[in-house]
């Protein structure tokens, strides 16, 4: 195994060397940094050209210049690693250092959401194969495949930002919107749950009415200006979470698991609601989150000891997952409480959804900004890019998870599982879903690396200053060092992700052994 990894790392270095050589020469040959000066009529143009040539070492042919650059990279072994300087004499490493976190922040949420939504939709679509829901999901996925992100972005800016802000200035949902949203949600859930004709009509009517009622209540309670879950909402959601997670994890027939999950969820979300508000105000946020993160498994463990006598592992898992979900809900609730102060800030002035940028720097000029308002500001700026990236990338997961699950469902061990008399839930969640996730995991890892490259356009459209901006600067300014820096990051990520995907595959699927063949 170790020798396999070592061999792969060796190959990885060779690949990075080869591809950077190709790109460097390609970029150096196709660009002429002196072009502007050649046509210039300035008296000192010649002197400028000479100094520029000296700076960029234009006296050397591109392949040799590449090795000058490579010497800096190889300095990693001798301790003086450098990626060179940009044309503005900035260190490329520091430029990348400020840009990478921005890009990661941009793609991180989108990737997670796309994976969760995409896999969920794909699985439902596969379970309802050849249904109307399946066909519309397929069409939807293909439509998303075909959308240029810059085009979606313009639509989002108009309808999700500008129009939504207009709506917030006078948050009254008109009757037509109420009916439309309710109908869409009714049709969607009727398609997801499916069943006999009578059942479908029942679900459709029920969900439509429930959605309409929910929107009406939210509207009446002025929820869009002062959103909050409150202790009532949290209690309801905690119960729902416990039931939902238990159903997926062990099935609600497992009473011990259900009780533990309910106990942990209610302890955090309902009984602990007010104490948690105090906890969330603690000034050391890092320590606080770390503490909460560690607390939940502990609670799950205690609950599993109290409620279950045998088979405590799955019970603890269920309770812990429920606890984490409730924790996220608490976090959201606290963010919602920061909504009104955020809107009242003069920098925001009741138009909270921005169309460009990654945060509002002028926020602090207009009053006291606590941690939650600051976080909300960052989150709000993430909304549009995240939606755009999610829309584009989750279509792939729908298609892929659907295909894989269908393939898995045809396997003999699924028939065996059914023949043993296991419930459909167990067959799908335990036998089929886990095996579906094996190839999916590898795709996800590779995808995450790829999306960093894909963020170039997204950043440009939404005015973020991350890797995309650097890349743009590098291309338009003939800045080879900067270009190679950006490339090195994306390429290293891509090849590393490939390696990790292969290792993960063999770790998840014992039939596949890396390094044995070849």
């Amino acid at each position: 195994m170790l020798s396999y990894i070592a061999r792969r790392l060796g190959a990885l270095v060779v690949i990075l060397f080869g591809s950077s050589f190709i790109l460097y020469n390609l970029a150096a040959i196709s660009a002429d940094p002196l072009e502007g000066l050649r046509q210039s009529t300035e008296p000192n143009a010649k002197a400028l050209m000479e100094s520029l040539s000296r700076d960029l070492r234009l006296d050397l042919p591109p392949p040799l210049r590449y090795f000058l650059w490579l010497r800096g990279v190889l300095g990693i072994f001798t301790g003086n690693f450098t990626l060179g300087e940009t044309r503005e004499y900035q260190n490329v490493m520091t430029e990348l250092g400020t840009a990478i976190p921005v890009t990661v922040r941009l793609v991180f949420a989108a990737t997670i959401i796309a994976i969760i939504l995409g896999v969920a939709m794909g699985i439902v679509s596969a379970l309802r194969q050849y249904s109307r829901f399946d066909y519309s999901m397929t069409f939807f996925a293909f439509l998303m495949f075909s959308l240029p992100i810059f085009w979606v972005a313009v639509l989002l800016k108009q309808y999700m930002a500008i129009e939504f802000n207009n709506f917030l200035s006078e948050p009254n949902i008109s009757l037509s919107w109420l009916v439309a949203i309710s109908l869409v949600s009714g049709i969607f859930w009727a398609g997801v749950i499916s069943g006999g004709k009578r059942q479908v009509v029942g679900i459709f009517l029920g969900v439509t009415a429930a959605t309409a009622a929910l929107i009406w209540i939210l509207d009446a309670a002025n929820w869009f200006i002062e959103p909050q879950l409150g202790i009532i909402g949290m209690t309801l959601l905690a119960v729902a979470t416990a039931y939902g997670i238990t159903q997926l994890s062990t099935g609600v027939a497992n009473k011990e698991a259900l009780r533990s999950a309910l106990a942990v969820a209610l302890l955090l979300g309902a009984i602990g609601y007010f104490p948690m508000q105090w906890v969330l105000e603690l000034s050391n946020k890092g320590l606080m989150f770390l503490g909460l993160f560690a607390l939940v498994p502990l609670l799950g463990f205690i609950a599993s000891r109290i409620f279950a006598r045998v088979d405590q592992g799955p019970v603890m898992r269920t309770a812990t997952i429920s606890g984490y979900v409730v924790l996220v809900l608490l976090f959201l609730d606290r963010l919602m409480q920061a909504w009104l102060p955020y809107m009242e800030n003069d920098a925001v002035n009741f138009r909270p959804i921005p169309t460009i940028g990654q945060s509002k720097a002028e926020l602090t000029l207009y009053g006291d900004v606590n941690w939650w308002v600051g976080t909300l500001d960052v989150m709000v700026h993430l909304i549009l890019p995240t939606v755009a990236l999610t829309l584009i990338s989750f279509a792939g997961y729908i298609r892929y998870s659907r295909g894989t699950l269908l393939e898995v469902l045809n396997q003999d061990y699924i028939r065996t599982a059914r023949a043993k008399g296991l419930t459909e839930r167990t067959v799908i969640m335990r036998h089929a879903f886990r095996n579906t996730m094996i190839p999916l995991t590898t795709i996800m890892v590779a995808d995450f690396a790829g999306i960093v490259g894909g963020a170039i356009i997204t950043e440009r459209v939404f005015g973020w200053t991350g890797m995309g901006t650097l890349f743009n600067k590098a291309i338009t300014g003939f800045d080879l060092n900067l270009l190679m820096g950006v490339f090195l990051v994306t390429a290293t990520l891509a090849v590393l992700a490939n390696l990790i995907a292969d290792l993960l595959y063999s770790a998840l699927d014992p039939r596949i052994r890396v390094g044995s063949g070849k």
Binding site: P148, I456, F487
Partner: protein
């Protein structure tokens, strides 16, 4: 990916299916399956219609051949801006009216069906020109990538050994560079030479995924008995590759190239949007979206039309690719409709002699 077998196909259904393919060659079976894929067939017709519309509307020259277009404006003309009957005092709104009867004046094409841009250029001509460009770029990229990818993959997979290692390492080198980076590097400096050059260069770097697929296909096919038989009969390497293995790998190639072309049109529009692709005065769909995105609120048609064309083309190609994949997949089984079952049953009842 899209293996859609039924869980437990009954024997009778199998019989019906077998009956359908009796006495047909492989290509006939594939063709029949493809024709039955409704979404793919609709896409074929829509795409054909777009092709005909786009390439006949404006003057189109292919080398020495000059085909005059039937549309009255070219994309460079600047006719007078239309002021009358535009809502909100905007100039140059579209005259196309697709709703019959309901709004009183029936279906009208009018002077400027897609409207005019802010300096009065006819937007129908602009969009047609942009779509022409995008389609040309797509086809050229697809063609070059298909040729290089197939050849590289075939040689690597067939000869194996050091040739394979060399070619695949080279493929790895290129595959690591994200398409958008390599496209920008090329496009920013080649783009002003014209869209055709740009497409040509982009095609030179787009073949890597295909070559890996083809190589994998060749690696399995070359071990099959019919290849041994051909070799024993004295066929040359070239003959084995082109006459024996390639026809068996053609399904994989066609599907991959189709999907590659859908990616190519999106890559071209994205590059042009970033300013690294087709540059003005030439027109491309990505370029006009980027030029007019600011006027989305005042002149929404400047934004919608190019988008509609990009999406329709990409969507059609994706559906065609999906249909082709299903058609070429030997494991693919069609879901029998009630009609099939009935007619199949009747046929079985009469003794299976009639078709």
């Amino acid at each position: 990916m899209s293996v859609e077998k039924e869980v437990m196909p009954g024997d009778k259904e199998d019989a019906i299916r077998n009956k359908e393919t009796e006495g047909l060659s492989q290509s006939q079976i594939v063709f029949r399956r493809f024709v039955r894929h409704r979404a793919a067939m609709i896409s074929v017709f829509v795409l054909l219609a777009i092709f005909i519309l786009v390439f006949s509307a404006l003057d189109f020259s292919l080398g020495p051949i000059q085909i005059p277009g039937w549309w009255k404006f070219s994309y460079l003309d600047t006719p007078e801006l239309r002021f009358e009957d535009c809502p909100g005092g905007v100039t140059g709104c579209p005259t196309l009216d697709m709703i019959p009867f309901l709004d009183g004046d029936g279906v009208v094409v009018g002077q400027h069906p897609f409207g005019q841009d802010n300096i009065g250029r006819d937007y129908f001509a602009l969009v047609m020109r942009g779509t022409q460009r995008s389609l040309q770029v797509m086809i050229i990229i697809g063609f070059i990538a298909a040729v290089i990818g197939t050849v590289v993959g075939a040689i690597a997979g067939y000869f194996r050994g050091w040739i394979d290692a060399l070619l695949m390492r080279f493929t790895d080198f290129i595959i690591v560079i994200p398409a958008i980076i390599i496209g920008s590097v090329i496009g920013y400096h080649i783009g002003n030479l014209g869209a055709i050059f740009l497409a040509f260069y982009l095609g030179l770097f787009a073949w890597t995924g295909l070559s890996r697929l083809v190589r994998g296909e060749f690696l399995t096919l070359r071990e099959r008995e019919f290849v041994d038989a051909a070799r024993v009969a004295g066929a040359s390497n070239r003959r084995i590759i082109f006459k024996h293995i390639l026809p068996n790998a053609i399904g994989v190639i066609i599907v991959a190239v189709t999907l590659l072309m859908a990616g190519a049109i999106l890559l071209e529009t994205a590059l042009s949007y970033l300013g690294f692709g087709v540059t003005s005065p030439d027109v491309s769909l990505g370029l006009i979206i980027s030029q007019y995105q600011e006027s989305f609120v005042t002149r929404p048609w400047l934004f919608w039309w190019p988008g509609v064309f990009i999406i329709t083309i990409a969507l059609c190609i994706n559906f065609i690719g999906d249909g082709l994949r299903d058609a070429f997949d030997p494991r693919q089984r069609r879901k029998l409709s009630l009609k099939d079952k009935l007619s199949g049953k009747r046929a079985a009842d009469v003794g299976g002699s009639t078709k």
